[in-house]
């Protein structure tokens, strides 16, 4: 193509014009405010109810944090164990990836019956939602650790625990970070979705409530808040991954963990 603009510039132009259209089209009445409130009214809505949004954000963040401990912590541990032992891995992994085909949202009503509509049900649901893909991702990643490194350690007389602590764990760090990224993103999805479905607090609940009264600006303000949360999380993980980049060459020779998006590992919705 003979366009002489650099791709980055074009992309930025596209984004900027989209933002401007977001403001202009609803104001001009081309798109009804109900469908797409202008950017300014969205921000105004969020600003006016900042306290309410802040409180909801706190609830959501709390649920996300706790769920992450279970989902990421558990997923990384389980993935590491299953990934390093050939027999359990061959046995269990295909079963786990089969479960991945099931829309796990259908479990949420079960949790609301068992645990009520408060934070517990959301944490339980989001923890499971994030656990499975994390475990899959970490188990797969563990297998990419260069076995020669372990052999070299053995030849130097390293005991089992020395091999684990001084070789396997450091070599697994890129994998672990990747698992954190996957698990965390999915935990956020899980928490917000469950809040939207049945809840009494949290950002998802707020979004739903405003939707039922057709208050688009407030709905969109909530959506923006969730997006901001997701972006912040992603950026934080990328920062950590960059800092830890020296370790990357222990597995996929130099390839960035964020460049790979194994399709099966990404947020379902």
């Amino acid at each position: 193509m003979s366009i002489s603009m650099s791709p980055t510039t074009l992309r930025r132009l596209i984004v900027i014009s989209l933002v401007m259209l977001w403001e202009a089209l609803p104001r001009a009445g081309v798109i009804p405010e109900l469908f797409l409130p202008s950017l300014s009214s969205t921000i105004a809505a969020g600003w006016n109810e900042a306290g309410e949004y802040g409180h909801a954000l706190a609830v959501t963040l709390y649920e996300v944090a706790i769920s992450m401990v279970f989902a990421c912590g558990g997923g990384i541990l389980a993935g590491a164990i299953v990934g390093s032992l050939p027999r359990p891995r061959v046995l269990i992994m295909p079963m786990i990836s089969s479960i991945y085909a099931v829309p796990l949202v259908i479990l949420y009503p079960v949790f609301t019956v068992w645990l009520g509509i408060g934070s517990e049900s959301k944490i339980a649901f989001a923890a499971i939602y994030g656990f499975l893909p994390t475990m899959l991702s970490v188990a797969a990643g563990i297998q990419t650790i260069d076995p020669q490194l372990v052999l070299a350690a053995r030849s130097m007389g390293a005991t089992l625990s020395q091999r684990l602590v001084r070789v396997i764990i450091p070599a697994a760090i890129p994998t672990v970070l990747s698992g954190l990224r996957v698990g965390g993103a999915l935990v956020i999805v899980g928490v917000v979705v469950s809040e939207m479905l049945i809840s009494s607090a949290g950002i998802g609940y707020l979004i739903s409530r405003y939707r039922t009264i057709l208050d688009s600006p407030h709905v969109f303000a909530g959506v923006l808040l969730v997006l901001a949360m997701a972006i912040a999380f992603n950026a934080a993980i990328k920062w950590i991954e960059r800092k830890a980049s020296i370790w990357r060459t222990g597995t996929h020779a130099g390839r960035s963990a964020t460049d790979d998006i194994p399709a099966a590992m990404q947020p379902a919705t």
């Binding site: 193509m1 366009i3 791709p7 980055t8 074009l10 992309r11 596209i14 984004v15 109900l34 469908f35 061959v90 046995l91 295909p94 079963m95 089969s98 479960i99 991945y100 085909a101 099931v102 829309p103 796990l104 949202v105 259908i106 479990l107 949420y108 009503p109 079960v110 609301t112 019956v113 068992w114 993103a185 956020i188 999805v189 917000v192 979705v193 939207m196 479905l197 049945i198 998802g204 979004i207 739903s208 939707r211 057709l214 688009s216 709905v219 969109f220 909530g222 959506v223 969730v226 997006l227 997701a230 972006i231 992603n234 998006i261 399709a263 099966a264 990404q266 947020p267 379902a268 919705t269």
Partner: protein
């Protein structure tokens, strides 16, 4: 081979054990049977549900939404994905935007679909489409890029026309990847549609499950969950077996 047979048997044993534990927990009252109906009760309810016209109707509605969304999303996504793979410039402009779109939770846009479409068929299909199209785009791009340049160079050096290259090099090379892409896209699609149904809908199996949950009808709820799980996993495994058959030559 003896190895895989033993593994399959072990897996079946694990599943059977889980059902047995479930049954035991409920029947002995360790877990309140009202909260956790026994496995046998659930299976019996499942059987009964499958006979019910309303449930069958719900399943049909969901299936039609899923298929419609799929039929719409796949060609659109494939076209865009193909364009990205073939055109460097387009790719460089669009890929970061796509990665971004991919990394944000799309379920939060569900209320928007309701504001625009109201509650009904188009809302659910729309959201299903939205959930699926991104993964289709990415998978198509990956699939096209996965065709090794070497193969294409060989074809070209023997004078293959674009059509011949498409059918004799691209297609066989991409087939396993495409199948996998379709399978994963379907998973995303199903998840999106069911979520939309659970959130705001008048029919569909997702809505029914949400209703059973609201009314504390645990037997039906668990039966419904089991039903969807089995359907989803069966479909998944079917496509996977076709995939394996087609990809025996892959390294």
């Amino acid at each position: 081979m003896a190895g895989t047979l033993g593994v399959k048997a072990a897996r079946i044993a694990i599943v059977v054990t889980m059902f047995a534990v479930w049954e035991m927990l409920s029947r002995t009252g360790i877990v309140n049977p009202r909260l956790l109906p026994s496995a046998s009760d659930t299976l019996a309810t499942l059987w009964e549900l499958l006979q019910r016209a309303s449930v069958r109707n719900d399943l049909a509605v969901t299936a039609s939404e899923v298929l419609t969304a799929f039929v719409l999303a796949v060609p659109c996504g494939a076209l865009i994905g193909f364009a990205i793979a073939e055109n460097r410039y387009f790719a460089e402009v669009v890929k970061p935007l796509l990665f971004f779109a991919f990394s944000i939770p799309k379920s939060i846009f569900l209320p928007m679909f309701i504001l625009v479409f109201g509650v009904g068929f188009s809302q659910k299909v729309g959201f299903g489409f939205f959930s699926t199209i991104f993964i289709v785009i990415m998978s198509t791009t990956t699939a096209v890029e996965s065709v090794k340049v070497d193969y294409l160079t060989v074809a070209r050096s023997y004078g293959a026309t674009p059509l011949q290259t498409a059918f004799r090099v691209y297609l066989p090379s991409m087939l396993p990847v495409l199948l996998e892409a379709l399978r994963i896209s379907m998973i995303f699609n199903l998840t999106g549609v069911i979520l939309a149904e659970m959130y705001a809908s008048r029919d569909g199996i997702g809505h029914q499950i949400a209703t059973w949950g609201e009314n504390f009808q645990m037997k039906q709820l668990l039966a419904g969950v089991l039903m969807i799980a089995v359907i989803a996993m069966t479909f998944n495994e079917l496509v996977r077996s076709v995939e394996t058959r087609c990809s025996h030559w892959r390294t």
